[in-house]
């Protein structure tokens, strides 16, 4: 029967196709809420949610916040930069204190992979991973999948090119885990120093030539060049990065005419993506943001909506 049989959402890697279908179907049903005159429903009235962010975010944090509010929950935001974390409090202690105040779910973003897993084990509250290091960003993966499913009807046999810095990208990893479960053909393209390794067992192909990945692609997901995570020497200059690996209008013509152009944001215009492409007719970047709220509403409903037995 419906409902997720898990307390936490930590990554797409361990999720089944049935669970992902349920989340995407629920998101589809909830999506229209955000366009109604009255956006609030009483479904999660009385539930409390905290977004606990150890890294900066506008889109993900606000998207979770709106999703929680649309469903009638109360939500508070804790940013590490302005909290007791500055006084040396550990992640676990901070989260336990929030739980002691009665929160039902903790949405956590952290620069260390596995931080949400640590919390999931030590809290009774549900934990949702909002991005952990370079490991996973499941809600981004799910919203990307919802966007693709809406436009393409499914995933099987689609050529999905993930372009850019996949090595530092939790978005790329969640996309790979999710899409390959449905039989999509995933390509990674970028400089060899920035390519994620070890996904051969998922059938992922890698190339240093962007053109090879874009050729005949149904979906192009452009990754942000994560300037804050770069060590020295992984690529020469930002300008040279754009020249070799940037997604430009000219390169995008190699893809299918009805290609979907995606970007998880925030964009470095003129670096990994040309402005003309980002604002072009194939871009579904705004739909991704809209779908993000829907996916997060779906997860909050599925995790917090039922009773103890659910």
């Amino acid at each position: 029967m419906p409902g997720l049989k898990r307390k936490d959402i930590l990554g797409l890697r361990e999720m089944t196709v049935e669970e992902i279908d349920l989340i995407l179907n629920t998101a589809e049903a909830l999506k229209d809420l955000a366009t109604r005159p009255v956006k609030k429903v009483p479904t999660l009235r009385g539930k409390a949610i905290v977004t606990l962010f150890y890294e900066n975010s506008t889109r993900t944090a606000k998207s979770f916040e709106l999703a929680a509010k649309y469903l009638g929950a109360d939500v508070i935001h804790v940013s590490a930069a302005t909290s007791s974390v500055q006084k040396g409090e550990t992640l676990k202690d901070t989260a336990r204190n929030l739980e002691a105040m009665g929160v039902d779910a903790v949405v956590v973003r952290h620069s260390m992979g596995g931080a949400p897993h640590l919390l999931a084990r030590s809290l009774r509250a549900s934990v949702i991973n909002a991005g952990d290091g370079i490991h996973e960003h499941p809600t981004q993966g799910l919203l990307d999948m919802l966007t693709i499913r809406q436009k393409k009807g499914g995933f099987k046999g689609l050529k999905v090119a993930i372009v850019g810095d996949s090595y530092h990208s939790r978005v790329a990893r969640s996309n790979i885990y999710g899409l390959t479960k449905y039989g999509a053909e995933v390509w990674l393209a970028g400089p060899s120093t920035l390519l994620a390794q070890g996904f051969e067992e998922y059938g992922v192909r890698t190339t240093t030539r962007v053109e090879e990945a874009l050729e005949g692609a149904d979906v192009v997901n452009v990754l942000r060049l994560q300037l804050e995570r770069q060590e020295k020497g992984l690529f020469p200059t930002v300008a040279e990065y754009h020249r070799f690996w940037g997604v430009t209008a000219e390169r995008l013509r190699l893809a299918k005419p009805d290609v979907l152009l995606m970007h998880p944001g925030p964009m470095n215009r003129g670096v990994e993506i040309a402005t003309a492409v980002a604002d072009g007719p194939q871009s579904v970047i705004t739909e991704q943001v809209t779908n993000g709220v829907a996916v997060r509403m779906a997860l909050l409903y599925l995790l917090l909506g039922g009773g103890e037995a659910a």
């Binding site: 029967m1 409902g3 909830l30 009255v38 429903v41 479904t43 409903y301 599925l302 659910a310």
Partner: protein
């Protein structure tokens, strides 16, 4: 599926009841100009469509039909062992100025109707809301009374009323069962 202990309505009786309700809707609202029908998921939807077809046959005018999923408005979500699947509500017409007739198969405690009222009012502000049900089985827990009733059936709380419709179940009948 257990065996019914009594057949409450057969297909002919269901058809007659729906035709009578359609006439009552027309009479009460002096025509169908303002009328719209909104079926409550799941079996209220085919019933609303059948009423719309009758309103068209009797008055010669298309009446808009919508559907409402009340899951997000239920008051017992935190008590359910398994979480209901959320579906889309589709009300693709403007509500102000409309008389909306909510349509459901069975009214029992009245809690579904309460949730439907809240769900509808969050979409817009109709001129009036009326309630049509195929079966009223009593045991109301809220001060809610349907405007149009196909059949009143006295029941015990240990019993269950099931409405079967061809669109979903392959045949038309209403029957009474014992809850195991």
């Amino acid at each position: 599926m257990s065996r019914p202990k009594a057949l409450l309505m057969d297909a002919t009786q269901m058809n007659r009841a729906l035709s009578r309700i359609a006439h009552e809707i027309i009479e009460r609202n002096k025509g169908t100009e303002q009328v719209a029908l909104v079926g409550i998921r799941r079996r209220g939807i085919p019933l609303a469509q059948r009423l719309a077809a009758r309103l068209k046959a009797f008055e010669g005018r298309e009446v808009p039909v919508g559907s409402l999923d009340i899951t997000l408005y239920r008051d017992d979500l935190s008590e359910l062992a398994s979480l209901p699947v959320v579906h889309k509500s589709e009300v693709n017409f403007k509500l102000p100025g409309r008389v909306v007739v909510l349509v459901d198969d069975v009214i029992y405690t009245g809690r579904t109707a309460r949730a439907a009222l809240d769900a509808l009012l969050d979409i817009g502000r109709p001129a009036a809301i009326q309630l049509a049900v195929l079966v009223d089985r009593g045991h109301r827990e809220l001060p809610i009374r349907p405007d149009y009733v196909g059949k009143n059936v006295p029941t015990s709380r240990r019993e269950r009323v099931e409405v079967h419709v061809t669109e979903i179940d392959g045949e038309d009948f209403v029957a009474l069962y014992d809850n195991e």
